[in-house]
């Protein structure tokens, strides 16, 4: 069963515009949620994570995400994107036993 679904494979957005990258997870998994970013020809870097506590999580580079248990979502947002935000973004969950599952990724392209 698919644990993580990233609904948009590609998201183009103009520079300085807001962006939301969507992520939904299956309710059977433990609710440890992550967003990673991958810049071209590099490995993955952690943007932010939700383990417990406040449902609004702030990460690096001005990104934030909100955990919504009722909608089983963990969408990533940024109020104003820059050219340097162009990258691949992956949502991930941790299942019982510490195994990570990743979504298929969303390619964010910031247009000048």
């Amino acid at each position: 069963a698919q644990s993580v679904t990233q609904l948009d494979s590609q998201v183009p957005v103009f520079e300085e515009a807001p962006v939301e990258l969507r992520c939904n997870y299956s309710s059977s998994v433990s609710v440890y949620l992550f967003w990673y970013v991958q810049y071209p020809n590099q490995g993955l870097q952690l943007l932010l994570k939700y383990l417990s506590g406040s449902t609004l999580v702030k990460g690096i580079n001005g990104f934030e995400a909100e955990f919504n248990k009722s909608q089983t979502s963990f969408h990533l947002r940024k109020p104003s994107v820059h050219i340097s935000d162009t990258a691949e973004y992956f949502c991930a969950v941790v299942k019982t036993g510490n195994q990570f599952y990743f979504g298929t990724g969303t390619s964010l392209t910031v247009i000048p």
Binding site: Y32, F34, Y36, G43, K49, S52, F90, N98, Q99, F102
Partner: protein, 116 residues
């Protein structure tokens, strides 16, 4: 603190050959994950090792195999290489258990495997 290191960074093999990819986790991490990232296919889960044992494997044929050594480093072996095995292979490590403050996967830079 050294991060996750993978070697080699690039590997070129011909069809039918075998490839061996290596991963050294962050010191103290006992879990190692392998992922295949082929063009346009996102991250495909390959293998998960923890404490020296294979805990789970993804939907890949048996010619993809690996192991984890007592020092928690790991290697991925791909036998009988096919052209479609060309991809970036990423290794990640994480601490064991449910220590929430440390639950995170750290990634290496990957090995770019090209099969010609």
């Amino acid at each position: 603190e050294a991060g996750v290191t993978q070697s080699p960074t690039h590997l070129i093999k011909t069809r039918g050959q075998q490839a061996t990819l290596r991963c050294s986790p962050i010191s103290g991490h006992t879990s190692v994950y392998w992922y295949q990232q082929a063009l346009g296919l996102g991250l495909q889960f390959l293998l998960w090792y923890d404490e020296g044992e294979e805990r789970n494997r993804g939907n890949f044929p048996p010619r993809f195999s690996g192991r984890q050594f007592p020092n928690y480093s790991s290697e991925l072996n791909v036998n009988a290489l096919e052209l479609e095995d060309s991809a970036l292979y990423l290794c990640a490590s994480s601490p064991a258990g449910w220590d929430r403050g440390r639950t995170e996967a750290f990634f290496g830079q990957g090995t770019r495997l090209t099969v010609v």
